[in-house]
């Protein structure tokens, strides 16, 4: 029963609250820019507006049209797998690896859609997206697996409960930091948003999308952002372990806000790196995460 309720909450959270989170982040950004900024509900209006726009497809093929739907669905599915308040809605149906697969599906879909759109900017964006995926996904996988190693189980519930009992270990902290560093490219924020770089390649894979399809893609991006940040806070910042579920969920929401704001602040004080520079950077982050994993294996 509890997991059904949490599942519904998670869906709503990922679906309905995602644009609100984006609106709040736009306020954070505006504050750093010394300006007033849009209302926090602006993103809802943007999505509503995109719904009425003509769907003037830049390309006319199935992959191009299907991509937004698949992308959207994959994020919603992921929302059902992420823990919330220590409860994993679909915990019985899959483990950490399934979650990782589902999370990777979104970006891969975008890549396919970008390839299908036929714009040279999209091609450049796709190639950058794939390069980023190649170096960032291992970081996430290794950081999550480290907890699984400690918990001796791949089940999500076991993984998130482990540090609560044992307290934070060295490997746990290292993996937490690595995961946090990987969040930035995963939610497509400067300095690692090369694939969507507006100033260089006009939002890359999205360049040819318009109207409803663009709305769905954008919405799934916002949802993915909230899903990943929730995953991070639940996994690596599970404290305080409150007894009451509603209180604990409220606490998680608060933590999500703080982490998201931090991500946004980092995005605002960095210039965008070049793809080769960020690759080089993430190779070292990978080594860092790997060391965390090693430590977990030897039990530290």
């Amino acid at each position: 029963m509890r997991s059904v309720l949490v599942g519904i909450f998670n869906l709503l959270f990922a679906l309905a609250a995602a644009p609100l989170l984006d609106g709040i982040l736009r306020q954070v950004k505006a504050r750093l820019h010394s300006r007033r900024g849009p209302s926090i509900f602006q993103t809802y209006l943007d999505l509503g507006k995109l719904m009425v726009k003509d769907d003037q497809a830049g390309a006319n093929n199935t992959i191009f049209s299907l991509t937004p739907i698949v992308c959207f669905a994959s994020v919603l599915l992921a929302a059902l797998f992420i823990p919330m308040g220590g409860v994993v809605p679909l915990g019985f149906a899959g483990d950490t690896l399934v979650l990782m697969y589902i999370l990777t599906m979104g970006p891969l879909c975008v890549c396919l859609g970008g390839m299908a759109s036929g714009s040279p900017y999209a091609y450049v964006g796709v190639s950058r997206e794939i390069m980023t995926l190649m170096v960032v996904e291992p970081v996430m996988v290794m950081s999550l697996i480290a907890s699984a190693v400690k918990a001796h189980s791949l089940m999500l519930v076991d993984c998130i409960r482990q540090p609560l009992g044992a307290g934070p270990s060295l490997s746990f902290i290292i993996c937490g930091v690595a995961f946090f560093l990987a969040l930035q490219p995963e939610v497509a924020k400067v300095p690692f948003d090369q694939a969507e770089a507006e100033q260089e390649i006009m939002e890359g894979p999205l360049v040819e999308y318009s109207g409803r399809k663009l709305a769905m893609l954008k919405w799934s991006f916002y949802s993915k952002q909230i899903v990943l940040i929730t995953l991070f806070t639940e996994w690596f910042l599970p404290w305080p372990a409150l007894e009451s579920l509603p209180l604990r969920m409220a606490c998680t929401v608060l933590k999500v806000l703080v982490v998201a704001a931090l991500v946004e602040v980092i995005a605002q004080v960095f210039p965008r790196l070049k793809i080769n520079q960020s690759m080089r950077y993430f190779v070292s982050v990978n080594a860092f995460a790997l060391s965390g994993l090693m430590l977990a294996v030897i039990g530290l």
Binding site: A30, R31, H33, S34, R35, R36, Q268, V269
Partner: protein
Amino acid sequence: MISKIKEALICLRAPRVTFRYPLEPMPAPARFRGRPTIDGAKCIGCGACAAVCPPRLIDIHGEGTTRTVELNFSRCTYCARCQEVCPVGAMQCTTDFETATNDRANYSVKVELAAVACQSCGTPFITQRMQQKLMAEFQPAWMQQRNELPEWLSLCQSCRVEKTGMTMGRNIKNG
């Protein structure tokens, strides 16, 4: 890393500076060169403004007994040269900049002035006000007393040329 914190501090130290405009009015400074206007009551139709206007948007033309000063300031460059050369202060650049609209016809300014006919051929050639102004400035006192118009104010250019030619011819004939 320190430079990042510095940058963040620069950002945070500056308050939110956004104006509330257009929800609150914000007048432009006094010297601002905004929407050009013609005060129809003052304009004498001399055309000085048309001669200096860089985008050449002031047009002066005449039909029948009217002289029309017409402009559509859609392509105005707001240089205020017209204001500078206007001898009567009819041409003014206001400080108004809120001129956005959906119809270019809203930018049209039209002043129709009465023209005076040439005493010889009857063609209208100069605006009434222009004639009065020139009279006030250049008419010799004795003519003013006799309420007489100097020739160059009562004849159109072609008639004047003709008349001058005739006078000269007569003078030559008379030695």
